[in-house]
Symmetry: C3
Subunit: 159 residues, 3 copies
Amino acid sequence: MNDARSLRQLLDKDLIQDVIHAYCLHFDRAEVEEVLALFTPDAVVDYGPDVPTMTGRDALATMVRRGLEEFFAATSHHVSNVTIELDGPDAARSLCHLYAWHSYRDGRPESELWGQYRHEFRRMPEGWKISRLVLSAAGARNFHRDRMHPIGRRTPGVR
Amino acid sequence: MNDARSLRQLLDKDLIQDVIHAYCLHFDRAEVEEVLALFTPDAVVDYGPDVPTMTGRDALATMVRRGLEEFFAATSHHVSNVTIELDGPDAARSLCHLYAWHSYRDGRPESELWGQYRHEFRRMPEGWKISRLVLSAAGARNFHRDRMHPIGRRTPGVR
Amino acid sequence: MNDARSLRQLLDKDLIQDVIHAYCLHFDRAEVEEVLALFTPDAVVDYGPDVPTMTGRDALATMVRRGLEEFFAATSHHVSNVTIELDGPDAARSLCHLYAWHSYRDGRPESELWGQYRHEFRRMPEGWKISRLVLSAAGARNFHRDRMHPIGRRTPGVR
């Protein structure tokens, strides 16, 4: 094994994990510009089948701005189980669990989501950026969307 | 300090953490074979005093298969606070917090568990495997087991 | 980039993360002395506007002992999104998300908190210690304090 390369990979994983954390933090603080700056210009974001998949930072901007400034009153995005796979020196994929809590400006009941984020990353001159984000859900309580991408459970539950 | 050894330890911790994450992911996806493949052949698994402690992958297989294919409709296992201690080059122990959400095929209410996993790991030719897993709980809501191993609180609550 | 320095930084981040985890574990186990030993003698701890900010381990001891031995029946502190920034070789700051569950000795309803910890750390002869801890909250359910420090959401929700 090459020690310098292994060290470089651990450092990249650490930086990539910080990007995932920054997304949650800026989202929860309703910092629209800071959220958008985490994505590549051509990023693809898929929050589920009830929302059009967005391509590019401009499409994402409209939705994120509306969500953070008009829809949510407060959110808390807790990511864990972060597993990162490097695809060569300048690309990476990751999967993590998401436990998210939301309250809404229109007074509907607070919601919880037990889900997962699937990320792809690309190294840009200014650092690692999210080039793709797909949200899926194992379950939810009072969530504002009825349909979500499944997490891929082999034996779907009958409910 | 020996830099090469320190690097090796960080890499091992990273690999071990990925095994813990893989357990959660495959469990939540109801991927029975993939869950079982994470354990050593002689692994000991103790899910609590209401379930017989299982020794060996075959004993575990029966329970995991029944749970994933017949009992749970959906689950989401969020691990955090992962603290890993290496015991020489080929063994390790870890403790983490677990927040788990479950829904059931028989329609009983969804449950939540606030617990901990205590793991032991052994390095096998094909990588790190779980040789021991003990689940304990600080609390639960609607959980399908009445008694759980305690997390070891010094001053037990009176309830 | 200096490889030896990068490795040292990763090792320090790993040690600091373990201190955050140890705080949660010892708190959940009601191990008062072990909680206190994680702080510098002059540590500042701010649990919110409804509690006086504590300075020094002695002030902290009174509150932690009362909380763990008389107030809480059980707790579970799940930290995630841990992002650590080193300030030179012997100081560090970090931010993480906290999802906490509590049950109480006086029988009031169990509570949940969706919050954040802001930590500062200092390297002491015996290892990294917490020199400052500030708790903030995005939201809560049945929590035992009415007012909490906000997480700094730019567009506060109207509720």
